[in-house]
Symmetry: C2
Subunit: 111 residues, 2 copies
């Protein structure tokens, strides 16, 4: 009984953490843009209407810290920075795709 | 070009709305409990470690308002209240299952 509760709590902790990570405003949209090979800062920003520079900057840092995004600096002139999904980030693709389908099927365009 | 932007914005609006709905703390766990036929208030609460009465009450009201949960009052003595997923709520099942699998595969038990 104790084991069952402990494993239930571990399950819940992981699930909450996942929901909190993905559920933050803009995070899902940024991950989708990265999944569509938009790998430069301005490309990502221009793909998502309403996303500010400041917010994109914060979210990319969070995603990097969480191990979902890798920031690669290419030593060209000028320096080029590219953002790529890590395997952990790419594995979220099917989750976001299925949420996207649900939203299209069940929500009004302008809630 | 304008049409493309408009449809991009409509897409984003739906997706943000979906993420905000599902991404709130406890909401995903409550939907999963309801999907497992835990349809009474105390059953749902006891399934989710750490969920308070107050929070469950608030979340169920939000889910009812969003059309994901139906609250059925059975005129027995004493009155019985059951919570059930609507078709819109049930359609979220695959999304939550896939997020759950991702969390189990990629997150530590105690982040």
């Amino acid at each position: 009984m104790t084991d069952q509760n402990a494993s239930g709590e571990a399950y819940c902790a992981r699930f909450h953490h996942a929901i909190e990570l993905v559920g933050r405003r803009w995070t899902g949209a940024i991950l989708i843009a990265l999944g569509c090979e938009r790998d430069r800062y301005t490309e990502i920003r221009d793909t998502i209407p309403g996303l500010s520079d400041r917010m994109l900057c914060d979210r990319l840092r969070e995603l990097e810290a969480a191990g979902l995004v890798h920031r690669a600096v290419h030593p060209t002139t000028p320096v080029q920075v590219r953002y790529q999904l890590t395997p952990k980030g790419r594995a979220l693709g099917p989750v976001l795709d299925s949420l996207s389908r649900w939203a299209n099927d069940w929500l009004e365009a302008d809630p």
